[in-house]
């Protein structure tokens, strides 16, 4: 799929999601809907459950209650859901021994996309000059950009980004904003957790602290 194609129309939503981690309720009764081309910005103080929710959306963790829907159909099989999305978390899945290009090429091959977009992905995040540089030599921001470049190199309709602005300099921040805008213009969906910069203009905002269960709920629920 080239960058100019658009994604099939799809919506991603969650109903009445509740998550307990280690015996403690993180959020309860949370719902959201992301339309085609939509964006959802997760906000909330530290510990309000942004990371937890993103991993839930990726199918890496299961909700204690509630369910996720893809174009209205409940998601049962987390393995199949993986095909819809790219998840970029705090850990960057980069092999230090491989070069920048090799790192990208592996994931593209692994996800079964053709590798025509690798060059463009490196350009989008200012990595073209570093293409044959071993990843171990990258600085914190350069590494993070390499992780983000996977979004462009191997397209998928839903992007789940956990604090994608971390460690990025101003120029890369601009590149990220542009990439997200282009993705949405093609009908892609974006969910991102952020404390600061506004990376997805016009997107909906989900304030997670609103879904923190009341104290009583935590206590009786077990």
């Amino acid at each position: 799929m080239g960058t100019s194609d658009t994604f099939k129309t799809a919506t991603f939503s969650g109903e009445n999601l509740t998550c307990r981690r280690g015996g403690r309720m993180v959020f309860a009764g949370l719902g959201f809907t992301i339309p085609t081309g939509g964006a959802l910005v997760l906000r909330g103080p530290n510990g309000s459950g942004k990371t937890t929710l993103l991993r839930l959306m990726a199918g890496l963790a299961r909700p204690t209650a509630g369910r996720l829907l893809w174009s209205g159909a409940a998601l049962e099989d987390p393995e199949a859901h993986g095909r819809h999305l790219r998840f970029i978390g705090h850990l960057d899945a980069i092999k230090p021994a491989f070069t920048v290009r090799e790192n990208l090429a592996f994931w593209v091959a692994f996800w079964g996309r053709d590798d025509g977009l690798i060059g463009r992905a490196m350009e989008a995040f200012g990595l073209a000059a570093l293409a044959d540089f071993p990843a171990r030599l990258l600085s914190a921001g350069q590494r993070h950009r390499l992780a983000l470049a996977r979004l462009v190199a191997s397209p998928a309709p839903l992007w789940l980004l956990d604090e994608p602005a971390n460690a990025l300099d101003d120029r890369s921040l601009g590149a990220l904003t542009d990439t997200i805008a282009a993705h949405r213009a093609r009908g892609g969906m974006v969910v991102l957790a952020s404390h600061g910069a506004d990376l997805a203009s016009g997107g909906a905002t989900l304030a997670l602290d609103k879904f923190a269960p009341t104290d009583a709920a935590q206590w009786t629920d077990l």
Partner: protein
């Protein structure tokens, strides 16, 4: 290229890039084997008597050490999360990783074993069967080891815990592996033992990847 071959190729490529790796497994095997004559004394009869057992134990321990890191690196750098998200069967991914592990550690170990057998004064009749038994046994070792490695993923002191889980499961391989070699030395048929080893490998290849995949999914959660 399918996800399976992509992953297998990556792991082999990584092993080649870090060329010291399979070399160090072989080195551990060699050193552990060499330690025994020190502990036991150099008398040829005693050594020959225990050679087959020592070789197998050393091979198991060498495999164990290298297993420690089959999934740890991918787990710690977040690759595992991404591997889980490819929309395909995780079991197949596990098989790719196990195959890569076997190719980079099991195979060098098999190639090395006749040399170590000389050191331990194994009678010449045993060589062929030793190699055959290792060829049949080491895949099982990799498969069971991967299961153990997945189970202890993210636990503290994974390495030691892993041994605890996995070594008892290696006992059948050890028993039949050495029995085959001893049979060959004493002129008995070693076919039955070798077919038991093949059977164990079959059971392991059908059961272990499923368990490993489930354990990996738990670890990510």
């Amino acid at each position: 290229m399918s996800a399976f071959t992509a992953l297998l190729a990556r792991d082999l490529h990584l092993a080649l890039r870090q060329s010291a790796d399979s070399f160090t497994v072989v080195a551990f095997f060699a050193i552990a084997t060499v330690l025994f004559p020190f502990g036991v004394g150099p008398e040829a009869e005693v050594l020959a008597r225990i050679a087959a057992g020592v070789l197998w134990v050393a091979a198991l321990l060498a495999a164990l050490l290298s297993l420690d890191r089959v999934f740890t690196v991918d787990f710690e750098d977040g690759s595992l999360d991404q591997l889980l998200l490819n929309g395909q069967s995780l079991t197949l991914m596990v098989l790719a990783k196990v195959a890569a592990h076997w190719l980079t550690t099991g195979v060098p170990l098999i190639i090395m074993s006749p040399v170590m057998a000389v050191t331990l004064q194994l009678p010449a009749e045993g060589y062929g069967v030793l190699v055959l038994a290792l060829i049949l046994g080491t895949p099982t070792v990799s498969l069971i080891g991967a299961l153990g490695a997945a189970l202890v993923l993210g636990s503290r002191r994974g390495g030691v815990l892993l041994s605890l889980l996995v070594l008892p499961l290696y006992i059948p391989v050890l028993i039949f592996g050495t029995a085959a070699v001893e049979a060959a030395i004493t002129g008995m048929p070693s076919g039955p033992m070798l077919s038991v080893l093949a059977g164990l490998a079959l059971i392991a290849v059908t059961l272990c990847p499923l368990g490993t995949a489930a354990a990996l999914r738990q670890a990510a959660e």
